[in-house]
């Protein structure tokens, strides 16, 4: 892979956009416009192609511009030509509403160079780091948001991770439905066993990948955090709901041992520990009708100077931690893929002081393509504005300035 950038972007019926055909240079791009005109949606569209899901919603029908649909089956299409050093690829995701026996169904079709692929196959094709103003809420918000954020990052580079997540979700929803049935109607508990094997296998893979990723991220984020805060250390603390590396309750209360990664116990032993834990939890889980352990219950905390920022951090501290995390993500993607990802920044500069703004502009200089959305171009130094492509975004229509 070579330096990567989005060369053309086209949208049909996506969010605010009825139709958009846009050519982009391997340089900074400034999107200027008032709020709710389509700046964020454009960044979202590119992130959608990178991750295979929107970082802004879990309800994909919200992506369709219903008012732009003129008759026929409602649909939305996002596609981009991505340029690499020596080749080009076309990535496309299409959503289409189709009637079925049981009502409407939203179909999703992903293609790379015209060939239909699965979501997992998107991994490694287009990598982005997205900075959103509301990301500051990651630190103190619900744990599911932090898990999803980490999953989106890992999903960009590892098809195996995407497949494991999907296997895990299927087995989890089946097991939860079965647990409720066993609680309400009774039945053979041996039906749980194949699902527990599936959960243990996928869950083990997911938690080891998350652990390894956080191990790198925390090192990188700490470095940037010290720089932007004048020396305060930062740690991303992974707290798995069940740690197969430390299967006993007492050991699980200790902070995770990252050294354990170098020499993890054999897989069979870890899987056996997982299954034993399920067995020990069985009565409790049947009573509750829900699966209580596994990656879907993992927690990630932001700790700075021994203070949990999620609970006790000021908004300013949380902002620094998220900025450090995003910069760490960029470095991590570069380490993993050997290439700089795209930077997508939404109104981020407004929240930063001058020193941090300059660090961010340095960062932009280190990647092939950055797309920045802002209401105020004056925020950027004149020299920066001159070298950037400036586009006006108004009501889902884009015009060069």
């Amino acid at each position: 892979m070579g330096p990567m950038y989005v060369q053309t972007l086209s949208l049909r019926h996506f969010r605010t956009y009825a139709r958009l055909e846009l050519e982009l240079p391997p340089a900074p791009v400034l999107l200027l416009g008032e709020n709710a005109q389509g700046k964020t949606s454009l960044l979202e569209a590119i992130a959608y192609l990178a991750m295979g899901r929107s970082p802004l919603t879990t309800t994909e029908r919200h992506l369709i511009n219903w008012s732009a649909v003129e008759g026929g089956a409602p649909f939305a299409v996002v596609s981009a030509d991505v340029a690499y050093r020596e080749r080009r690829e076309r990535i496309e995701i299409a959503l289409q509403q189709t009637p079925t026996a049981g009502g409407e169904r939203l179909g999703k079709r992903i293609r790379i160079n015209g060939h239909p692929v699965r979501r997992a196959d998107l991994a490694g094709h287009l990598n982005v780091v997205l900075f959103l103003p509301e990301d500051v809420r990651l630190v103190g918000g619900p744990p599911a948001d932090r898990r999803r954020h980490l999953d989106d990052l890992l999903s960009q580079v590892s098809a195996e991770y995407v497949r494991a997540l999907s296997r895990y979700r299927t087995a989890l929803s089946r097991r939860n439905a079965l647990l409720k049935h066993l609680r309400d109607e009774g039945g053979d508990t041996a039906q749980l066993l194949p699902l527990e094997t599936a959960l243990a296998e996928a869950g083990l893979f997911i938690s080891l990948q998350r652990r390894a990723c956080l191990h790198h991220l925390t090192r990188l984020a700490d470095e940037y955090h010290r720089r932007i805060t004048g020396g305060a250390w930062l740690r991303l603390h992974y707290r798995p709901s069940f740690d197969p590396l430390r299967p006993t309750e007492e050991a699980a209360r200790q902070p995770p041992l990252f050294e354990a990664l170098e020499d993890p116990p054999p897989r069979e032993a870890l899987l056996a520990a997982y299954r034993q834990r399920f067995e020990a939890m069985r009565t409790q889980e049947v009573t509750r009708g829900v699966t209580l352990i596994g990656p879907h219950r993992d927690e990630i905390r932001f700790i700075a100077e021994a203070v949990d920022l999620g609970t006790f951090g000021s908004r300013g501290q949380q902002r620094s931690a998220v900025l450090a995390l995003h910069i760490a993500e960029l470095a991590w993607l570069r380490e993993m893929t050997g290439e700089a990802p795209l930077l997508l920044l939404d109104e981020v500069l407004a929240e930063l002081d001058v020193a941090r703004r300059h660090r961010l502009l340095d960062l932009i200089g280190s990647v092939e393509q950055t797309i920045l959305a802002t209401t105020d171009a004056e925020m950027f130094p004149a020299a920066f504005r001159r070298q950037a492509l400036r586009l006006r975004v108004e009501g889902g229509i884009i015009t060069p300035l």
């Binding site: 299927t170 089946r174 079965l178 039945g187 053979d188 066993l193 194949p194």
Partner: protein
């Protein structure tokens, strides 16, 4: 679907048709009017077939395949190998395996696969009956020929945990079947290869 413009006999047919899986109200009304508009012969043929379906056919009390006589012709065929049992989800899967002409054992039809999300659990399938058949003795190998889908695999794994203690050889169809597809749509050549390539399942 109440309407004063249409006689009850037509709306009743439309309603009945739209209760079939995969048929929406639009298709139901198209089918109803097709039969109404000069296809009387076809309509009566359908009526007879539906009548016979209810009156004459039932499930074989041994293998649970659809049959007009009980036990079914396969179960009562002395020329077949009564030591081998092939477990399938649906009668159409049985038909697909019969079409290969390469299998000479008996069958057991589960009538579905485990699908907790759709409310289908072990007690909803003919699993108790399968276990009783194996316990009665005389069976040496069970071929689990559930579909190569995630539900089919789940069902096969569950059957393995349930049947393994009974001391029979348990095998699963070999690779080569299109993943996520149904057995009934697989061609005879592919199915024959999957049968020949069956391998012992590990718990």
């Amino acid at each position: 679907m109440e309407s004063i413009a249409l006689p009850a006999s037509v709306t009743e047919l439309m309603e009945a048709l739209s209760e079939l899986p995969g048929i929406g109200p639009k298709t139901a009304s198209r089918l109803a009017f097709y039969l109404l508009r000069g296809h009387a012969e076809l309509a009566l043929k359908l009526a007879d077939a539906l009548h016979d379906l209810v009156e004459k056919t039932r499930f074989c009390s041994v293998c649970y395949n659809v049959t007009e006589e009980d036990p079914c012709p396969i179960c009562s065929d002395e020329g077949r190998d009564h030591k081998t049992l092939c477990v399938v989800e649906e009668p159409l899967d049985l038909l697909a395996i019969e079409r290969t002409g390469q299998y000479n054992g008996l069958y057991h039809v589960l009538h579905g696969a485990l699908a907790p999300l759709d409310g289908i659990f072990a007690e909803d399938l003919r699993i108790k009956e399968l276990e009783a058949r194996v316990r009665a003795g005389g069976i040496e190998e069970i071929i689990l020929a559930t579909n190569p889908t995630s539900e089919g695999d789940y069902t096969a794994s569950y059957l393995l945990t349930r049947l393994k203690p009974l001391g029979v050889r348990i095998t699963r169809l070999g690779r080569g079947l299109p993943i996520g597809g149904d057995l009934e749509y697989a061609d005879a050549m592919t199915l024959t290869r999957a049968l020949e390539g069956r391998r012992e399942m590990e718990g």
